[in-house]
Symmetry: C2
Subunit: 205 residues, 2 copies
């Protein structure tokens, strides 16, 4: 049985927000809540980085001072001992890298930044659209039972596609909109829901 | 970029063989080289376990005294820092489990034993036929570039399907039959081949 897990908001803090806080760059605090068009948001972020002359190494240096959420390392270690785990995230490998080390490098599928010879981030490339849902579908085609878990709208596709889903500390709006999914508000509850969900899927099998 | 890695012969010893040595049960030393029909071989193994009254817990106790191959832990830690890693193995979760702990639980796709309430292994269930090749294909459909690596005939499918392949300490016959694939004879060479292969795939991209 496979657990497909979101990364930011579940194991790590929101990287752009934390990066904005650390560097004091207000414009980088904008999210899809402020600018719903993702490409517009990302192009804006890249312009800010260029304007501030922040290269990939500078950014990674800041990101490597961040930490996983309290309790995330223990939770992930437990999860790996009970499930096969794949992290499905809409972040970029080059951003997550320094933090993945602190999580002992679980398997991560996400996206890539395009970086030139001088370390300037010139663009970004989504690996594929709606990658989380597609990944769960592809993994199910291998006769794996999948439990998906995440915190926000971009996780709903993979949660619906999975054999079962769990929400972890989601915004109130997400809970109201998707009352069919169980909600964990801390890692103890999250662990308990994974155990219960696994047992339910096994007894249905 | 994703590394799909075989388990036994690459990171772990051959579990059945080691188990046979530890317990002194000669009949369990038979492999597909002796009994080419896999189902016949497995049913034979299960009868021996039944005859000796070996339950899953007894077997796991023996297996937990085994160790990964010398250098495997370091190699895998390096590999995880440079690639996303999924282990594709034709072993069983219940056998590999005690050894996966020593490898810090990398993501593993393999097969299941059917165990009754008393801990007796009553049968086995392949997750799917030719699962390694199918897994690589499914992962490529997610726009992941895959490098597959293994040591034997059951790895050739996934090596051919992958964007590139590497053989690790294969039998002479396999080298002769598949001269198109580079061969590593130790972890240093294996690491070097992964780096070279990655660079080649990136420069072609």
């Amino acid at each position: 049985m496979l657990a497909c897990l979101d990364l930011e908001g579940v194991l790590l803090p929101e990287i752009w927000i934390k990066f904005a806080e650390k560097t004091g760059i207000e414009k980088l605090k904008l999210t899809t809540r402020d600018i719903p068009d993702y490409d517009e948001l990302m192009q804006g972020r890249l312009s800010v980085l260029k304007e501030k002359n922040l290269k990939i190494q500078d950014i990674q240096d800041v990101i490597s001072t961040l930490s996983p959420l309290d309790g995330a390392v223990n939770f992930l270690n437990w999860l790996k001992s009970e499930f096969q785990v794949i992290i499905l995230s809409d972040t970029f490998y080059q951003f997550a890298g320094p933090l993945m080390k602190q999580l002992s490098y679980p398997t991560l599928f996400c996206h890539n930044l395009i970086i030139d010879d001088k370390g300037v981030i010139v663009d970004y490339r989504l690996r594929q659209k709606d990658q989380k849902t597609k990944a769960v579908k592809a993994l199910q085609s291998l006769n794996l039972k999948v439990i998906s878990a995440g915190d926000s709208y971009n996780d709903i596709g993979m949660i619906k596609q999975a054999d079962a889903g769990i929400l972890f500390c989601p915004p109130k709006k997400v809970i109201e909109e998707f009352p069919q999914f169980p909600v964990a508000t801390n890692y103890d509850e999250f662990q308990q829901l994974f155990i219960e969900t696994k047992n339910r899927l096994l007894s249905n099998a």
